[in-house]
């Protein structure tokens, strides 16, 4: 049996898995009856519905012809990794990482880390240009978010004992 639409086949599988997962989770809560719905009632119904929809989508993907096979195509690993990593590093810089005794480094360090890592996701990377961009963003964010909007951020590194 050939997969006629790759996109639909895998999204159907995704919906089925998630639907079954939610339904299974919901069955652990009290279900109740229509008149007295328990916490599991609505999620269970939705989970089953999602699994059924996923099944139909997968089935159609195996049966209905498409022009070009609806290929998913290659994943853009480079942007995916660097954008998500940039976001995670920003979180680490803001919140610190107690498990390795890294203290919070604050907003400014976080902005530089994020800008440099995120820029690596692009087609070209220019160190000087990125440094300028990061500086502009740091100054602007400081003025806009800290001075103007008064958001509560640790701006500078919080060193141990300080």
């Amino acid at each position: 049996m050939n997969i006629k639409s790759q996109k639909d086949f895998f999204s159907g599988l995704m919906f089925m898995t998630v639907g079954v997962g939610f339904a299974w989770g919901a069955s652990g809560y009290s279900i109740g009856t229509g008149a007295r719905m328990g916490p599991g009632y609505f999620p269970l119904a939705l989970g089953v519905l999602l699994a059924v929809l996923g099944g139909v989508i997968t089935f159609k993907a195996l049966v209905v012809e498409t022009v070009d096979g609806d290929k998913i195509g290659t994943f853009a690993w480079k942007p995916l990794v660097f954008i998500i990593l940039a976001n995670l590093m920003f979180g680490v810089m803001i919140g610190g990482l107690p498990s390795i005794h890294l203290p919070p480094m604050g907003l400014i360090v976080g902005i530089y880390a994020l800008t440099f890592i995120a820029s690596l996701a692009g087609d070209t990377f220019n160190l000087k240009e990125t440094a300028v961009l990061a500086t502009i963003l740091a100054v602007m964010s400081y003025l806009a978010f800290i001075k103007l909007l008064n958001l509560q951020f640790a701006v500078w590194p919080v060193l141990a004992g300080a």
Binding site: G25, Y29, M37, L46, I72, G91
Partner: protein, 503 residues
């Protein structure tokens, strides 16, 4: 006339220096993100939500609304000058707008889009003001069964108008509803699907989902594509004024676009994008006058009608939100979030409990439209300059604003880890061709739907027929079924696919 009193109240609120300033900021930002391809009103509003904590609720809503309708103006500039839709609602403007620019008529195209939008925006605001009160009256007749049926209608409407596969869109809604179930159940106190993570007992933040899926997911997907050649017609924008001939053709097109857009905006699931598609299709159906440029070759009607329609739709989609408290599209779902942040429960009671907010917002929309036409026509040069900002500077900035926005919502790094997860999920959705907008709508409506279903069935002692025996509820459900039947009719089905293939 009560309407005039109300509008006077509204203008009194909107004309304070502070509110004028926030309306301007909103319109300005809206134009900026409208002009820039790859970032839409959804991500921007999600980003700015946390920043509105500190503002008074009226100012916050005025600004956020400005972003939404401002983006409809800005999007057309990019569509006309760069052959890229700056905004998803200007996808059809690209077709004729860019051709006009290539023929050296970028100026009249921009003017047609701007003037058409302004007219439509004014009409849309008036409709909103006029219909809000009677619809609110109707809303007070709604019981839980009616609300549940209305949400079904809204969700079906959103699916019908979404692009791509119908089944996948329904599945995305159900997935959204399920994600909305995560967190503590209000009735039993059971922490559902929290995986024993304490932060999840409060549920998943919708800002986290919106930013991850729409912000990061889009950026990753954009970077995965090859940078297309951008050709900006800066030199050609001389003489904004359309000719008399242009005006004669434009005016009926703008009127048709406005009417269609206002109507589609009110419908659940409607909004700016669908309005633009429908208006363009309608114009293509009308007969060409002798000597008129065919569609697709730079017909001014192909610019004026969809631009009028998307702006009218953007205004009137506030009607279901403000009167019933039910968001008709994903942007309005974010507005629900914005209102909740400020302890305003969206729904019919807003008009009586917060009249200054209600009418102030409406009045500010008219003022905002006036600001936008000034921002977009005489000051067009600024936006043309901005189009030359390279994406490699833009995307790190967007990533940064997303990260700051997410963190500042709760000052918690947990949200940053969550947004990373949803960024990956969002990219996966894009790769699998599953449109994420219905998911967000489902997510917002999920807890509400469960609550209304629970109440309706409690009142009827578990009898499901209550949804069909109450006339209002039955007609809403009939509407939903009708919508589904219409889309599934073979002739409409092929047309619908055709309409979405054009982008």
């Amino acid at each position: 006339m009560e309407l005039f009193n109300n509008l006077a109240l509204g203008f009194g609120v909107a004309f304070t220096l502070q509110n004028l300033m926030y309306a301007f900021i909103g319109c300005f930002l809206g134009t900026v993100i409208g002009v820039l391809p790859g970032i839409g009103p959804l991500a921007t509003i999600a980003m700015l939500l946390p920043a509105t904590y500190a503002l008074p609720p009226v100012a916050a809503l005025i600004m956020l609304a400005g972003i939404y309708y401002g983006a409809q103006y800005g999007g057309s500039t990019t569509a006309i000058l760069v052959n890229l839709p700056g905004e998803s609602s200007s996808v059809v403007t690209v077709i004729d707008g860019y051709q006009m620019a290539r023929n050296g008529r970028a100026g009249p195209a921009l003017a047609a889009a701007g003037l058409g939008s302004f007219f439509a925006g004014c009409v849309g605001t008036l409709i909103l003001a006029a219909f809000a009160a009677p619809l609110t009256e109707l809303a007070f007749k709604f019981g839980p069964a009616e609300y549940f049926s209305l949400m079904i209608l809204g969700l079906i409407g959103a699916v019908v108008l979404a692009s791509g596969s119908l089944l996948k869109a329904i599945a995305m809604i159900v997935l959204g509803l399920l994600l909305g179930m995560v967190g503590t159940d209000v009735n039993s106190g059971v922490a559902r699907f929290s995986l024993d993570i304490p932060e999840l007992t409060d549920g998943i933040g919708f800002i986290v989902i919106a930013m991850g899926v729409f912000g990061y997911g889009e950026i990753i997907s954009n970077l995965g594509k090859h940078e297309s050649e951008r050709e900006v017609f800066t030199a050609n924008v001389t003489g904004l004024m359309p000719t008399r001939e242009d005006f004669r053709r434009m005016i009926p097109a703008v009127l048709r676009g406005t009417a269609l857009g206002s109507l589609l905006g009110i419908l659940p699931g409607g909004g700016a994008v669908m309005a633009a598609f429908a208006a363009y299709t309608l114009e293509k159906k009308t007969k060409l006058e002798p000597g008129e440029v065919p569609f697709g070759k730079g017909n001014i009607r192909g610019v004026a009608a969809p631009e009028a329609a998307n702006n009218a739709g953007a205004q009137t989609s506030f009607i279901p939100l403000l009167t019933l408290g039910i968001p008709p599209n994903a942007v309005m779902a974010l507005m629900v979030g914005a209102m909740t942040i400020h302890n305003i429960q969206p729904g019919p009671q807003v008009m009586t409990s917060n009249p200054e907010l209600f009418w102030g917002l409406i009045a500010s929309m008219w003022i905002g439209n006036l600001m936008l036409i000034i921002l977009n026509l005489p000051l067009i040069g600024i936006w043309i300059k901005m189009l030359s900002v390279p994406y490699r500077w833009l995307f790190p900035s967007i990533v940064l604003f997303c990260a700051i926005g997410v963190y500042s919502t709760n000052n918690s790094t947990f949200d940053i880890w969550m947004v990373a997860i949803f960024g990956v999920i969002g990219y996966l959705f894009i790769k699998l061709g599953a449109e994420p907008a219905p998911l967000l709508l489902g997510f917002i409506l999920g807890p509400m739907m469960e609550e209304y279903l629970r109440r309706a069935l409690l009142l009827s002692r578990g009898d499901w027929s209550v949804f069909l025996t109450r006339p209002l509820s039955a007609s809403l459900l009939a509407g939903a079924v009708l919508l589904l039947v219409i889309v599934l009719m073979p002739s409409v089905k092929s047309k619908r696919e055709e309409a979405f293939v054009e982008d």
